[in-house]
Symmetry: C2
Subunit: 180 residues, 2 copies
């Protein structure tokens, strides 16, 4: 099956540490295979995400790329399509069918930016897609995009090699812990 990789542009170590962490966690929880960080290198965020994979399961990869433009160009040549999530783009409800059609036989790179995304990203992307044209959050945009792409099936995703797992409860908390 085709894979989804998330590319987080323009990470700033101090300002974005929690938002970027949330982006990584959403990528994993909603069915992407990998998140690639760009911008300032940040071991703390990468370790935090690796720790979640270690405890809650995978597979899910975390890596860093310095030259994101070259990375995107190579992706387009060798792997597949590029979707850039931006409030300026075409509404997801209009774009999703064409994207799903292409996703059947090629991998998909989702680009999400921090505050200001360089113009080149808009031109490198095959699709500039908005999740509403209102200001909100790249965390929310990523979640809604993956939910539409996977049609809700990502909510049922089972992880491998977990050490901790939740048993859903009407009230309170229940956890299974195991060695693996």
């Amino acid at each position: 099956m085709a894979r989804v990789v998330v590319l987080r542009l323009g990470h700033r170590r101090e300002r974005d540490k929690r938002i970027t962490t949330h982006c990584g966690l959403v990528a994993r929880a909603f069915g992407a295979s990998e998140i690639i960080l760009s911008g300032e290198e940040d071991n703390a965020v990468m370790e935090k995400l690796k720790d979640v994979v270690e405890r809650w399961g995978g597979p899910f990869e975390i890596s860093y790329v310095k030259n994101w433009k070259d990375f995107i160009k190579e992706w387009k040549e060798r792997r597949g399509i590029v979707v850039h999530l931006t409030m300026y783009g075409i509404p997801i409800q209009k774009a999703i069918n064409e994207i799903k059609e292409k996703f059947k036989d090629s991998d998909l790179l989702v680009i999400i930016g921090a505050e200001k995304v360089p113009k080149e990203a808009y031109f490198l992307a095959d699709f500039n897609v908005s999740i509403t044209n209102q200001p909100h959050s790249e965390v929310a945009a990523l979640a809604i995009f993956l939910d539409r792409l996977f049609q809700g099936k990502e909510l049922e995703r089972e992880f491998e090699n977990w050490k901790v797992k939740i048993i859903p409860q009407k009230r309170g908390k229940a956890l299974v812990k195991r060695d693996s």
Copy 2:
């Protein structure tokens, strides 16, 4: 029509300023009528959200409540149902139909917490609902919950009294600005 209000518990001024801002922006963009902050008072976050309403339109209310337990109890007596979003809860795909049924004739309070939510919230809530049982983000959980509740119609929401508005583009950016 019944209204949705979001209650953000346990805000910490330094640590949560951006995440709480994103929660407020998502609440507005995805069709809620109001966000109520609790925890530490934070004028900077409230002003930031009010500024977005001023420029991008409303209606959308922002307020603060100190005693959130009393607030929830009063909500249940006078206004409607309470949904607490938590990774420990019942999966949304199992709970959403019953919630939608009740939402037809009563307002709905969505509770989202910061790091650790006090036990009482689980017991005051009518529904403890998970958006996957994996660790991710209250920002994403709120977006997915509202998207399911409003069945995607929130993506078409038009705002009133806006001064700035985006015209969706395949590439690049287009904004309308007006006095209002």
